[in-house]
Subunit: 357 residues, 2 copies
């Protein structure tokens, strides 16, 4: 989810608030009740502000289509499957995953002071968008956050040594408070994402390296193999060289999302969706927040001040660039990736919503 | 921790119980009190049985030296820094990490039925050996286990884009119950380990691929760069291609081990040691154990039956080979990596302990 880039400097810039209001109006007109449209819109725009352009407003049109077909539910609350205080399992009944995840995070934050460690599994969620966009909400409250997601109805990554897709890219996001800006880790068990591969395929591009494999097991940089018949796969992190590492991570993500949620590939679900596991850890319940941020702050500084390799301007922390982009965009506006607003023009017309300035 | 291999077929085989008794006698003679010698010996031998030959009895001689110098403590119990029921923080006072981790696991297993999710941070531990060796103890009880370790007194891995070591390899082990054998993930945030690199350096070998970088940032397969002045580093998982993934994992491991434990690099500790974070998750407290193993069992079978790439005999699950090796070794004995028993001969003589048959 981190391989994408902010749009070029020549694209028109929008005020973030205008984009949130625009997307929120579209989603509300599509039928989302309560605070769902506003919450989804804010988190999608936040992804764009941080430069995660494949997981921001680019998702709005597909979400509107899913709402129209009924594949994404519009109203109501998740069902509580089990509740043990520090451990909660929800059935999302295919409500918007961005909203469900924000809701689960709110519940976990409420429970954290009492339990010190809170885990929430969500089954039957719809897609949850950009994982990194949720992290600041936890780190601003001093909590460390882990967020895992998989889609049991889809597969594009094979186990290491194999050729048939079993896993989704299986993203993992980790928010780590420090004595300054938080560290916002946003990786996946595969080298690249479905989002970037699909975009490059549509745009006729190639991946920067042979990060895919065709159905026969030959590595390639051609995004088309993922759409061939039989389809190829995205290589796990570590590639052909040490892909058992990404494979191990994928198994972990699938277990905490679909295993703990109790619903997944064994049920052969249909339709775009997600299984989610969210966990908060309160440093205060362990050795104390000052001791925690003293360590993470020290490590962050050791990374920032690290002598770079030739060709590298400076060593960055995960999230550092996204947070800087977000600050800049809050002040000067955000330029969207080409095509995103165009993808929403028809919806705006149908719903009688004005395009953003 | 998974790059090592079992010894060749010509080496003499030992009964596992004989090796445990031998190592236990040595460690007890070195001063370990209570059950510490027996627990450490059993887990070291278990690592050899599973083929993790750099993290089995090869560690016994170094541990004996550490006990002799006093760098590894011999007696007593860890100090409870904080206890919130489902969240526990221990100060290990430099007791043997293998025993401390087994002790923390016992405590977590006791608390798991009540809390459903239990996290234990251990600071000031000594080295914890082979992470994978602990996992079966949790999965046999139906629990999913996460185990993270770092050594704040050492560094051999640079942040992605940098050249100066900040992290240890930062291993992560994950035990996942299924409807059959458990999945035992044992990876690290770096491509390879200090253990394998050190062994190849001593033996004059090369790494299979350019998994290291010299101090100037040039990739190399020469293990000697890690021992040069200035020293090189081990590349993070993903290497020069997508090493931001391993970097993100390293930051996560350092945060949960040293951050939650409240002691680490910021304190500039000296001597071989470890910071540990152990977490158990009870599927019963989420959506239920049957639902959990139904999903993980389905995924395991989808991996085992996956059509392999050319040159790959069959797709394996993490831990599958280790568990098979262990069963074979329990029945027919285990062949140790060359040099391991020799490294203990002097100690056996000094302590009046018979070498194993």
């Amino acid at each position: 989810m981190t391989h994408d880039h902010a749009a070029g400097g020549n694209a028109p810039r929008h005020r973030p608030g205008d984009l949130v209001a625009f997307a929120s109006a579209l989603l509300a007109r599509a039928g989302l009740d309560g605070d769902k449209a506003a919450v989804v819109a804010e988190l999608l725009v936040d992804a764009d502000l941080m430069g995660h352009t494949t997981h921001g407003l680019q998702l709005c049109a597909p979400y509107l289509r899913e709402l129209e077909t009924g594949s994404m539910a519009r109203t109501g609350m998740p069902e509580v499957v089990s509740d043990r205080g520090g451990v909660l399992t929800l059935d999302g009944h295919r409500l918007p995953g961005v909203w469900l995840t924000a809701h689960a995070l709110d519940l976990a934050l409420e429970r954290l002071p009492r339990h010190g460690l809170v885990g929430v599994a969500i089954r039957n969620s719809h897609h949850i968008g950009c994982l990194a966009a949720f992290l600041r909400r936890a780190t601003e409250r001093g909590a460390m956050m882990l967020l895992f997601s998989s889609d049991p109805a889809a597969a594009s990554v094979a186990p290491f040594g194999g050729t048939r897709a079993v896993f989704t890219p299986d993203p993992v996001a980790v928010g780590i408070p420090t004595d300054g800006d938080p560290i916002l880790v946003d990786v996946s068990a595969s080298i690249t994402t479905n989002g970037l591969t699909g975009r490059l395929h549509r745009e006729g591009g190639r991946l920067p390296h042979p990060w895919l494999m065709d159905a026969q097991g030959n590595p390639t940089d051609d995004p088309g193999v993922l759409f061939a018949d039989p389809p190829g796969t995205i290589l796990p992190v570590g590639g052909l060289d040490h892909g058992h590492k990404g494979y191990g991570l994928a198994l972990t993500v699938e277990a905490v999302t679909q295993g703990l949620g109790g619903f997944g590939r064994a049920d052969a679900p249909k339709g775009w969706g997600a299984s989610v596991y969210l966990q908060l850890m309160d440093p205060e319940a362990f050795a104390g927040t000052p001791a925690f941020v003293r360590q993470t702050g020290w490590i962050a500084e050791a990374c920032r001040s690290n002598p770079p390799r030739p060709g590298v301007a400076a060593v960055r922390l995960p999230g550092q660039q996204g947070l800087a982009r977000r600050r800049e965009a809050m002040e000067h506006g955000v330029a969207l990736h080409p095509g995103i607003l165009e993808s929403l023009r028809d919806w705006a017309g149908r719903f009688g919503v004005d395009m953003p300035a």
